[in-house]
Structure formats: C-alpha cells, structure tokens
C-alpha cells in the first residue's frame, strides 16, 4: 500500500457533503442529515467544497439538470448519493458506498454518466446598467437563488436582479410538489383520514419542524453552534427519544437563542409583515421568537396520549402566504438580509397545491 493510497484512505473519512433537496424530499434529507451527523460528516455550503453530493427526493427535470451541472464541476475523488426514499437501512448502505468510493479513487465514480465538461456555465449573467437606489448607474447581475443552495427551502427558486449585493427585484417560482403531501403534516393528514393519532405524536413532529426551521435560520445567520444544537435536538425528536431530557435541552437552547442580543440586533426590522397569518407577523426577530414559543408549546405536549383532533387547525393547508410575500420583502434587501428573510419565513412547499408563480 503506497503513501498516496494510504493518504487517500485517511482523507476519505468524514467527507464534506453538500445536500440538494427536491420538492417532497424532506424526509430523505432529514434521514441523510441525521446519519451524516452520526458519522461526523461535515455539511458544507458550496459544491466546490464537497466530496459527496447528496440528492434527496426525486428531482424534476429542471433540478436534475442543475444537479448534473453541479456534479460535473466537483473535482475527483467524489461520490454521488441519490437518496430518493427515506429509510435508515437504505441510507446507511448509500453513505457506506460513498465512503468506499472516496477511499478508492481509481475506480470510476457512480455518477459518471455525464460528459466530462469541466468548465462551469454558472458565470453571473451581466446584463447592462441600471440606476441603483441612489440613482447611480451600476452593473446589473441576474442571480438565481435555489434550487441548488444550502439551507434553502426545497422547491423554491428566486430569480433576483442584483446590483452589488443588493436585490433590486425578485421573481419567485416554486417547483411542482410530488403531490404526496408534506412530511411535517403527516400526523394531521392521517388523523383527517381517520387513522388514530396521539396528540403527542403530532406535537413531536410539529416541534421537529420548528427546530428544523430554527436550525436553518441559525445556519443562515452564521451561528453554527446553535444551529448544530437545534438540528441535533430535531434528529433526537424524530428518533423518538424520551421526552424529559429533550425538554431540558430545548430549554437551554431556547434560552441561549432567545436571549442573544446580537441575533436580535441582526434580525430586527428584516422583512416586516403586517398581514395575517399571525405566525408570520412582525420582523424576522419576531418570527424567531414566535418559532421558539411554538416549539416550546409543542415540547410540553410530547407525552399527550389523547387522540389528535385534526379539525381545529389547518396544518396541512397550502403554505402559500410566505411565497406570495417574498417579492415585496426581498426588493431592496442585500443578499444577507434576503437569505435571513427567506429563512425566517421558511415556506413548506411540500404541502399540496403550493405550486404557483408570483412575481
């Protein structure tokens, strides 16, 4: 065994991975993130930094094209994981295979169907000049946010016209869902169709959804420490860990995040919403606190055995409100603020009938 192959073996451990989630791929994404966390894989925000590209769910033609383009640009050794269905055993096999492929770089990698064009076609589209908000003529960039973007809602695409790092105009489109409904609202959908569901089960799913949104918002806010803790707690909730320890951990997390002055300073006045629904009202800081409160309520009901009454809240109604708000909220925001606004609204586009174009 030569030095290079030994070094390759060492370098193949705990690979950095980049996740692309198709509409309807939430359950697969959660499975991958939990399993990757156990293995010490590090999630990265740029395809250039990753060794493993993970595609969760079943991408439609547009996303598939984007995935192939991104895959072509990733230098070897690399591995492609297609996690189209959740299921722990299945995911373990897939991630094992990826680790194996990285350790033996001589072999052709699994995704080698694409032609070897190494040049990327992703250069910023420079159109022409327009007056900016101060009336200066500045170059205009056309930048597409999503669908291949870390910590971004699955199925959302924002086409932004930018000057410098400021979004001047934004058009919002959503990908076709799978029509199978959202992973997050499964308990409510099941209860509606007559299956017996305990309230605690639904609250556990609801709390995990809040923590998923929280983890994403904190990741976009650049607070890795709290984001990692939120996601760890989310994974343990979904893995049905007993409620007492989880509740204590949530209290600590909620305290640290809720009391952070720096975070409030950074989120204040971002994306103000006055129209209903209530959970979106206020600015991004208000939405963060509403999210913590919602998660806190759910965390208190994890052991509630009473049957779930699906009728009182429209949990699986289309989540269109955040999407229709986006074009107005994003105009005039810089890229950092725009990302925080989207993360604080975190639309769940897997719910039925959410596909529409606004702009």
């Amino acid at each position: 065994m030569g030095l290079i192959s030994r070094l390759s073996c060492f370098a193949a451990g705990r690979p950095p991975f980049f996740v692309v989630t198709a509409a309807g791929g939430t359950a697969a994404r959660l499975g991958v993130e939990a399993e990757a966390r156990e293995r010490g894989w590090r999630s990265v925000a740029s395809p250039a930094a990753c060794s493993v590209l993970v595609v969760c769910g079943e991408p439609g033609p547009d996303l598939e094209q984007a995935v192939e383009r991104v895959w072509r640009q990733i230098p070897r050794p690399r591995a492609l994981v297609r996690a189209s269905v959740p299921g722990r055993e299945h995911l373990i096999t897939l991630l094992d295979r990826a680790e194996h492929e990285l350790a033996a770089p001589d072999r052709r990698d699994s995704g080698d169907h694409a032609a070897e064009g190494h040049e990327s076609g992703d250069e910023p589209g420079m159109a022409d000049r327009e007056a900016d908000r101060d009336g200066l003529k500045l170059d205009v960039l056309h930048v597409q946010l999503g669908p291949v973007l870390a910590d971004w809602p699955a199925g959302l695409v924002v086409r932004a016209v930018m000057q410098g790092d400021v979004v001047q105009r934004a058009e919002v489109a959503t990908a076709e869902g799978t029509g199978r409904g959202s992973f997050w609202t499964e308990p409510w959908t099941a209860a509606r169709t007559g299956d017996p569901v305990a309230r605690g089960t639904a609250e556990r799913r609801g709390a995990a959804r809040s923590l998923d949104t929280l983890g994403r918002l904190l990741a976009v806010a650049g607070w890795d420490r709290m984001s990692a803790q939120a996601r760890w707690l989310r994974d343990d909730l979904l893995a049905d860990h007993p409620s007492e320890r989880l509740t204590a951990r949530f209290e600590r997390l909620s305290d640290s995040v809720g009391r952070s002055r720096t975070l409030r300073w950074m989120l204040r006045d971002l994306g103000p919403v006055t129209a209903p629904p209530a959970r979106l009202a206020g600015d991004a800081a208000d939405r963060l606190h509403a999210l913590l409160a919602e998660a806190g309520t759910a965390m208190g009901l994890l052991d509630d055995p009473t049957p779930l009454d699906p009728g009182n809240e429209a949990h699986d109604a289309p989540d269109t409100a955040p999407v229709s708000l986006l074009p107005d909220l994003l105009a005039g925001a810089d890229l950092g603020a725009a990302r925080l606004i989207v993360a604080s609204l975190d639309p769940d586009l897997d719910r039925p009938a959410a596909s529409a174009t606004h702009g």
Partner: protein, 307 residues
C-alpha cells in the same frame, strides 16, 4: 531585550505558525463536534489534517472565465501575510526582526488581507464570490480605524513602536490592566482581519461560502490555512502588545509566549462560536459610533498617564 535576527527564529517561525494554526483549527473542530452531539468529539481534532490531505489530493476546480492569476495571487497572499506579520512577533525574547516601526510593519502587512480576499472573491467570477469581496471591504472600513487606534494606544503607552521596547515597557504592569478597552478592540479586530467567527460574513454560508465559493483543492487549502495562520499570528501579537510578552515565573520566556498565545487563541476560537455572524450594514455604524470614541477615550487616558 529583543534578539532580532536570530537565525533559529527564522527557521522556527513557519512551523510555530503552522502548529498554532492547526491547533486553532483542531480546537474549533472539537467544539463543533460537541455542539453537533457527535460521540468522541475529541477525535475531531484530526479533522483539519484530514481536510488538508483531502484538498492536496484534489485537482483545483476550474470555473469559466475565472481570473486565475488574480485568484491564485489572493490565495497565496493570505499565508504570506501571516508569515510576514509574524516576523515582528517575538517568541520569548527572539524575533526575526525588531525594526523601530514594528507595530506599523504589522499593521501595513495585515492590510494586504483586504487585497487577498477581494482578489479571491473577484477572481472566482461568481456572484457569491463578488458579494464576499464586497463584504470584506465593508468590514475593513468598519474595523481598521478602531484597530489602528488600539495599536496607537499601545505605542503611546510604551513611547515606542518597537515591539521589543513595548514588551520592556510592561515590566511593571501589563498593558491589558490599564488599557482594557484597547485590548478588547484589538481582539475584535483580530477576528475581523481573519474574517473568523462572528466576523466571518465575507466567507459565510448564506452566500455559499462567499469569497471562497469556488475554491477547491490546494487553492482552498492555502486560503483556509492562511486564514487560520492569520488568526494565530494576530492572537500571538496580543501577547507582546498587552500581556507582557514572555514575562512569567518558572518557565522560560519562549514557553510563556506560547502559553499566553494559546490562551488568547483558544479563547478567541471558543468565544467566536458563541455569537452569530454580524452583518456590516449594522455593525459598521456601531464600529464608528461606539468603538472609535471608546478607543479614543482610552488613548486620551493613556496619553495623560504618560505625560
């Protein structure tokens, strides 16, 4: 007190800087593993080495119409800046050189980071890279003035810009004791110049890695290693400026320098994880309306004291 030009100092400098940078990266990996709830978090200390091996074995990625010359220049500039700045940082009593304007040398060299990050962001020909470059320039405008005033305060207190004399001036009392504001501002500017922790907006994940968005292979290794080296060297410079240099009981001076540096560096890495990223559209205002007046008052106090 200083022994500038010691041959062994030249030989020792790169491995010491590399060791400190690796230590900081390993410590950060361990903290990250603990926060993510991974078992055996201590094992993550080897992650930076693993990442270095991985990046060395990979070809760099090519991007259409990227300006490779500028990109590479920026990538190589970062570790170069760290090493050049380290030349005036004493290890115990030894340093590569001790010019009469040592503090100015450090400041002048470290400003080249502005160019490095901008070149990398611009050269990658990506909107995200460009945004990362803009963000660092805005950050530079926010931190550089408070940083320079903090350095000036130290020079004023010691009545010299020669690092050796600054250390000597602290034989009675460390500067951190009567210049706490300048010390705090200096530490904040260390995070800013190494774009690390809460001041990592230029390479933040919300812009897909910002200036570093397209970096891969050895390019990425140089960039990341240079960034940690910069953090380590700037933390090490706090020791002669504020913490009495190599002064301390029992241990030899070089050991005290290393111990104090490790404490400052470890503390910065630990503290950096406890805050979200601050955006310059909000922070710049605070830097100019709070930090600059605060450090000017500090300078006034020091100026009256040395009169």
């Amino acid at each position: 007190m200083g022994e500038p030009g010691a041959v062994w100092a030249v030989a020792v400098l790169p491995p010491v800087v590399a060791g400190l940078a690796l230590g900081a990266a390993g410590w950060d990996s361990v903290l990250a593993a603990r926060d993510a709830g991974r078992g055996r978090a201590l094992r993550a200390a080897a992650d930076p080495l693993r990442e270095a091996a991985r990046l060395l074995l990979r070809p760099p990625r090519t991007v259409a119409a990227a300006d490779r010359l500028l990109l590479r220049a920026g990538v190589v500039l970062l570790p170069a800046v760290a090493l050049l700045a380290a030349m005036v940082v004493p290890l115990g009593n030894a340093m590569v050189m001790d010019p009469a304007v040592g503090v100015v040398w450090f400041n002048a060299v470290e400003v080249a980071v502005w160019a490095a990050v901008w070149l990398v962001g611009w050269g990658s020909n990506s909107a995200f890279g460009l945004v990362g470059g803009y963000r660092f320039l805005a950050q530079g405008l926010a931190y550089e003035l408070p940083h320079m005033f903090a350095l000036t305060t130290v020079g004023l207190g010691a009545q010299s810009l020669r690092v050796g004399e600054i250390v000597q001036a602290q034989q009675g009392l460390w500067f951190v004791v009567w210049m706490p504001v300048a010390f705090a501002v200096y530490l904040l500017s260390v995070l800013a110049m190494a774009f690390w922790g809460p001041l990592a907006h230029p390479v933040a994940d919300d812009a897909a890695g910002g200036a570093a968005v397209e970096l891969s292979g050895p390019d990425r290794l140089f960039f990341l290693a240079g960034r940690y080296a910069l953090l380590a060297v700037a933390a090490a410079f706090a020791v002669p400026l504020f913490l009495g240099g190599g002064a301390g009981p029992l241990l030899p001076a070089w050991a005290w320098s290393l111990v104090k540096t490790a404490v400052v560096l470890g503390g910065l890495v630990w503290a950096g994880r406890r805050f979200p990223v601050v955006r310059m559209d909000r922070f710049a205002e605070a830097a100019w309306t709070v930090l600059i007046p605060a450090v000017l008052v500090q300078m006034l106090v020091v100026g009256i004291a040395v009169l």
